[in-house]
Symmetry: C2
Subunit: 450 residues, 2 copies
Amino acid sequence: MKMPMSAALLTDHYELTMLEAALGSGAAHRRAVFEVFARHLPQGRRYGVVAGTGRVLDALEDFTFGEQEIEFLRRARVVDERTLDYLAGYRFSGDVHGYAEGECYFPGSPIMVVDGTFAEAVLLETLILSILNHDSAVASAASRMVRAAGERPIIEMGSRRTHEAAAVAAARAAYVAGFGSTSNLMAGRLYGVPTAGTAAHAFTLLHDSEHDAFQAQLDFLGTDTTLLVDTYDVAKAVRTAVELAGPRLGAVRIDSGDLRAVAHEVRDMLDGLGATGTRVVVTGDLDEYAIAALAAAPVDGYGVGTSVVTGSGAPTASLVYKLVAREDSGGTLRPVAKRSVGKPSRGGRKTAFRTLEDGVATCELVSVLPDSPVTDSPVPGSTVPGSPVPGSPAPAGTRPLLRPLVRGGAVVGREPLAEARERHRASVAELPKDAHHLSPGDAAVPTVFT
Amino acid sequence: MKMPMSAALLTDHYELTMLEAALGSGAAHRRAVFEVFARHLPQGRRYGVVAGTGRVLDALEDFTFGEQEIEFLRRARVVDERTLDYLAGYRFSGDVHGYAEGECYFPGSPIMVVDGTFAEAVLLETLILSILNHDSAVASAASRMVRAAGERPIIEMGSRRTHEAAAVAAARAAYVAGFGSTSNLMAGRLYGVPTAGTAAHAFTLLHDSEHDAFQAQLDFLGTDTTLLVDTYDVAKAVRTAVELAGPRLGAVRIDSGDLRAVAHEVRDMLDGLGATGTRVVVTGDLDEYAIAALAAAPVDGYGVGTSVVTGSGAPTASLVYKLVAREDSGGTLRPVAKRSVGKPSRGGRKTAFRTLEDGVATCELVSVLPDSPVTDSPVPGSTVPGSPVPGSPAPAGTRPLLRPLVRGGAVVGREPLAEARERHRASVAELPKDAHHLSPGDAAVPTVFT
């Protein structure tokens, strides 16, 4: 954690060389609109989950080039002095609109729209993508697990399987998607995510016997604690646990073996010993499929590690940040798009709505806004005549998806994490039933461009 | 990057509750030895690469509980006051041995051995695993790509596809494994990794024509720059590029399409235009397999993004941190091991050697050290009679793998990153030929426990 506080160098070298050349050509100060979107959802997923928005806003406020950063760039000869002068005074002064955190998204959804000069907007590409790609990948996987778990709570416990700072963001993203708590203390400290945990196998091995270990845990963590029962022999451990704790033991945890079979055995044993209120928690290489397969087993809670922090097979959301419109020499904002084979982009500033029928999502409506003089269109969709303003009345039967996050460089879209979590609950509840199939398939609703 | 400077909360809740209960039972101060190892290599890989060792040493020095951390733990009621008192005075005072950074490893290799009281060693589990699991996953994938690329250089450019801080560590790990440079500026600033990059499609789209964009780039970044030629039409772009830059153009980059076919076309065009020295760089969803498939194509360099930062299908190295020995009530260090189904551990402190025949690695020799009085064995393998000291003469035909990293809480194993990079080059060169098959198979050398 020797990371300096400015986020400005969490950036690709080429953003700065592009800036240098564009300052040279004069094009750097052209108005430019960049859009974050996914070309497709990974692995035939039915929907994605926007996460990291709040972290982008935090990072944007830290995105300044201080003396140390400038000195590094000078010493490493990354860019010339004119560019260093520009960077020393850099402060994003444009606008950002985006899908609110926790919202579901689909291929082509304009998840975030950054509107400023080319110079100020291009510099943000790497950082914005890093945050949204990581956090959305975790939230998208987590949401499927939450759905598979039904009413049963899930603890996120994958910190040890991912980069130490990514672990904190992963805990936050999983919480947005509906996980109940995390093992990660920093996520508790920074984001208020509830933290949980009791003991590992090492605690049992440390003591002279499992009996001694359980006794110590009960003495100092209380009867409501969770005892880990698979260090040696599960049946023996369960008997010892209830013998020492009595029928009010909080929970037992199983971390290995055929979890379905062992959960049944342990539940029967607990009931037979009178510990009918003692919960059974299972952990150990769980993902959404394993959780779904345990739906009929007597399990009261899950702990998920590796699979959630690594996006369950899709560790990045594959979001891209593409220039979709820029000012021409006449001062008009014009759509632009590349034509690269297999990776075309769709030009033009966009706004987006979700069409609903009887409360069920039916369509992701993405409207390309017309060309307009730059002076008439300070933010995407906000003042061009006839096009809908984000947050203003949406077309009948739809709700607007873009909301202001930054205005004139000032963050306006910050919200408590609980709101993102509640928004996700509502957004996912609105999806058609097919959205919850775990098998690969098409996006739950089609994206229609107009 | 609102991350506070102490690494102490990058830790799982249960490490602290275990500490609380062990302080209660008195077992917290027993001498304990934890070992980091992999039960298996992911996806039938032939070898793994240790990376992150240097970052572990940095993090260890930051691992202290300051007032802010203690106050959070008190407010969140994570542990009791006695435990908070212990944490407030916490400073790791034990020993750490480990494989040197860049070294290859195999299933069961004791990559890192942490030796201290249970209290001080258990707290480090999450942080050590986070760092080693992430960095080793990236380095292990990167090493395969470097081998597939032969003499051709690879730029790491995946920052945007992973968490913003993980991106920095990924750039560092890929460099250890032999990548030539990174797009990530922070990795340049923090670790001295060479940075590289010129322009994206947005730069071309920003200008009124590709001609204008190329001219601007050449004017301000110089003729030796790399022009991106697939924004519109590759053949037209190559002609424009050479027309503007002349035959001394540094390179062209292709980011889409059938890279093999396009590379041939572009090479032919460049040669036809007299630009025989202009390099062809390819990027776009490359992994070790795609790189290998381009071996016969006229390519001069690769840029790799998503696949390297996400471990090319194995985003975590699945390393675990297990208690393998601890002091008993009589003051003797005894092996301990769990017997969980499918996840057994192998008790006892260990040391490790690589057996070589004619300079080729043939075996990973892991020796379990005998029980011994705690007073006679301050560090694993160092003073127990008859067992080899790390760094001391190894058995004939072997070289020792464990080296001191921390002694009595003081870091002694820090080294320049270039040494880890060079060590990896030498370590991988020593492996038998089969190690370089990209297809799934057994570990390149067997691990033998004695």
